[in-house]
Chain length 343, copies 4
């Protein structure tokens, strides 16, 4: 941590700051310049609050020089991690395809979508039973009935299940049905939920908040990790910007950046990023080419009847092209499609 | 609702769209232009999903022409509402000052802050017992012990209490202690929490999400209203933009815009918007001048020791100026400072 | 400047960095921590390029601790400046109203608008003869014919003129007609134009770029100042954000922030910020209340016939209210309406 | 165009709107609904100003249903275009690599960088002689001396040259030296410059403004096209968002979106998007995988000595990997690396 004093700071201001720092057991090195005095801190600064230091008289700025997340950081864990979801790997050696319907609507629709997913090379099934919707008048998901459908489809297809959980109190129930818990973008800073999924003993798919910085996203992962769960997969799903041509702006740079800062696997959701069917394949290619460890994609047997996000779901005629992407691109990145590993 | 067909749309495409619309009991008026065909819908369109229509063959765009929020909209409720918090009004006739510490730390600190608030003209006390923090290593609030401190300070000062609740399961407990429940920016789309506070029988202070559009913010209020609670106060607290000179960017236009779209009162949080003490007073003046029905402000007796957001809290020497703002500005807007009404 | 070395940096890396720094005549203080080494620089760092240092082996981050703008900074010029435009002051002691039509269309329309402006208390006339328009098919302004109209209206009303110039080569011509040159938001980083207006010998109204950070805005002012012209007035006019309810998002915090960082006057354009007539008065009040040294407002005698931005122009029936704002608000901020000074 | 009347609109309001529309020679179809009246316009609406209509009494909203850009739109020109730069194609059949130094510094540095570019498969040389810099104290480019160096290097390497021009008055001089003119992000709405390059008779590389919407970007291209020049290549180079982990946020979705809206080729600048060397290759792969028709990349023989943007330049040891990207990825997209075509 570096404390920059303002030009108006007196020796007394500097001395007070140094005192506060030292009383927290941290060493302070003072460099006096022509215009500014800089106080460099060395030691364990976790007990020092940057914001409070910034509020002290004479202080102009406080700059952190180490990362605030520890458990998910790559600094102390240089090797990238692989998370296993009921045997399916997500990590540096593979490109995993997770696919399925945005929302579970009926047993038939879910099974049909799962078959589509499988045909395209998916090794994990996604599907929402609890849907966070902007409008209280929109379809909110089938709840536990949806979880039962998912479990039944898993039995028939062999695909482990990823599903979203939206409330801390639902975590035990949802975890009892599924293989991986998803935390959605609107709950990216719902800390109670993060702690609950951290304690649930299942891998977690953590979507980036639509306006989360890289650091906030990793701090959200740290909340999960702190409860003893390091099986966290980060998922970039588009951020909110001024551009309205797409539903969100896919921040494809987030893939290599997050992989350098954290050891956790990083995947991409091209369906929710773009919000348009015609963007799903180009963005899937881009994600994998940028190094993503997987993609999660909406598919629907009859999207015009979908109760949620139909316009972004891939349909039957797209599956061949998706399968081709999954076959051609991973090897160029030195990766295998996850399907190959599990067969 | 207006459906715009693309230049490639055939008569069959148009007929299919019209069929879907009519089967939902809605009338469809078709206007054929040189380049485009437009289908205007008349009737109750709540059962039609814009996104699904957009996914139909030949459809280029679907535009809503009425608001998706009904209960909080000003269209059906032209007169602006006043919400009463244990007798204290927040609404079009007044400018209410809510003040107190960001976090409840000790009984002494809370009481001192409440006295400061009162000296500046506050008629409601703010104070956090449950603190959503970006870092799992930061102070997370005292929980129920904090609520007890707040209740005790209310008894000694007579100030009704506003406090944040962060999890649906905590709502009954928190509601049993306090006068108004606050939903914070990170939970602006935590729909389970919104429904829980909607059912709790206490007025709600709903902060805007840091990346919520005007429509998303009002839809969040609609979630609360739909559970039978129309005592909702909207609070603008800064949005996330590219600018880093301030912690967030206060969207002061949101005050008149929200007041035109909704009948609910709208207040501003200048402390969290700017994140800097020296901005609190200028932004408070700006908020009131823009027509805000109140402001909510951090004050702290010893901000350099604050466990949360110390650098943005007003201190003793700022109170005279704040009191002056509360005295001078409301009359220019045809409003009274709320204090005057309750004495 | 502070250079933070990465955890992987060797002693050789640090030595190389120190060598580069010292060869630029700057002192380097090295603080070795447990995880990081920090190099604090003291001296004249203007010859060091932060970006190049950041590219050196072992360097993790380079942080500037002093401002990159010198001439417009308040650090070396603590007293806030007043700019005089043909006798009309813009600065800390006053609130100046600049008003007029967005675009000069006809002599009658311009004269009528100028009379409206004057009736509301304006002491400077705005009006565009060169209009930068998003579409090549939109009205682009009358050019020199418009300047002649403005000069004629100045003669009849006594109001000095502010007008936009969009190309460096037009600066001498425009400067020969008008009292103050405006640089628009789309040219906020058109450095050739900034240098040309810097050399023209007339005061400059510098609008903030729609995505300019505070620092970029002040650097644009520095370009003008560097050519010997310190008569620069900064104008906040709304920034680009995700919110679409308003044309731009007025960053009202920019007023006090820019006034703390720079000695230059800061005014606000509420017309272009909101893009809606019904927001102009609330945002004008907010701007003045935040401490703005003036506001610049579109007025039009017949806005439904306006060739540019009609929907945001104030009309006859708004003028009384605007005049009242100019009378009531400045005294609360310890300021005078500029009109009073010039009469 | 569709005009939505507000719930308060009277029959007289509707009649006035219809009158204005019809007097512009456009047909108006009125649909009266329960809550709203909608006026659909059919015919040539280019003479109607949406903003002015929006300002009329009773009007709630005006929605365009056709694109405002005509010449660059794909609607009237379904086949995607190929632009040839002195024989080198940029278009749907190829992936073109443009590489070179950010700034021309010396003959040696430029020649070395050109050799590096060529080794990696580049068929066009980039290099800046006029550099728009945020700070007036930063290196601004060598000007005409830099152009001479570029021309000399072209003679020695055979690589046609792309260079930025920053002022309209410089266009004839720059065009006399180089093969393709670049308009930079800060000049994306410098309309005089756009018109000047439109008239210069050379292909144009048009970077997207850092806060330009898709529509504004295409309107900028329309400015060039309107002067008779359809040899325009669009270049996505990152947009400004809240995320600070990268210099800009590469909007990779802009590639397929722009290609659907416009027939012009679309390339990507991964160097300026990310601003970091370690992101250049991942983002290049992502861009090509998303369907980009080329990439433009900074290379520098000695980046630690670069006068501009050294930290983002690729170095010698990166070239093999870049060449491999150019060899492996284009075939997966059904494209050829442009090099193959020109040999």
């Amino acid at each position: 941590m570096v404390i920059v004093m303002g030009p108006e700071a007196t020796s007394a201001h500097v001395a007070t700051v140094v005192g506060v720092v030292q009383s927290a057991g941290v060493e302070a090195f003072v460099s006096k310049g022509v215009q500014r005095t800089i106080v460099g801190l060395v030691g364990d600064v976790t007990q020092l609050d940057a914001a409070s230091l910034r509020g002290m008289a004479g202080v102009r700025d406080v700059m952190r020089v180490s990362t605030p997340y520890k458990l998910v950081s790559r600094e102390n864990h240089p090797e990238r991690s692989t998370v296993h979801v009921s045997g399916v790997p997500i990590g540096p050696g593979t490109v995993t395809l997770i696919a399925g319907p945005c929302a579970v609507e009926t047993p038939e629709q879910t099974l049909d979508a799962a078959r589509m997913a499988q045909a395209a090379g998916a090794t994990l099934l996604r599907g929402g039973a609890y849907k966070p919707r902007t409008s209280p008048y929109a379809f909110q998901g089938l709840g536990e009935a949806g979880l039962r459908i998912l479990a039944d489809v898993r039995e028939r297809t062999g695909l482990p299940i990823v599903t979203e959980v939206v409330e801390a109190q639902d975590v035990p129930l949802v975890a009892s049905y599924v293989d991986m818990l998803q935390v959605g973008t609107r709950n990216a800073q719902n800390f109670g939920l993060l702690q609950a999924v951290g304690a649930a003993g299942k891998p977690v798919l953590l979507k980036r908040g639509m306006s989360s910085t890289m650091e906030e996203w990793l701090m959200a992962a740290e909340y999960i990790a702190q409860r003893g769960n390091l099986d966290v997969v980060l998922c970039e799903r588009g951020i909110r910007t001024f551009e309205t041509a797409t539903r969100n702006t896919l921040d494809v740079s987030a893939v290599p950046v997050a992989q350098r800062l954290s050891h956790l696997p990083v995947i991409v959701d091209p369906s929710h990023s773009g919000g348009r069917r015609d963007l799903v394949l180009p963005l899937s290619r881009a994600a994998i080419a940028a190094g993503a460890d997987g993609v999660i994609i909406d598919v629907h047997p009859r999207p015009e009847q979908a109760l949620c996000d139909g316009p972004q779901a891939l349909v039957d005629t797209d599956l061949g092209e998706l399968a081709q992407v999954m076959r051609d691109f991973p090897p160029l990145l030195g990766k295998t499609a996850a399907a190959a590993l599990t067969v």
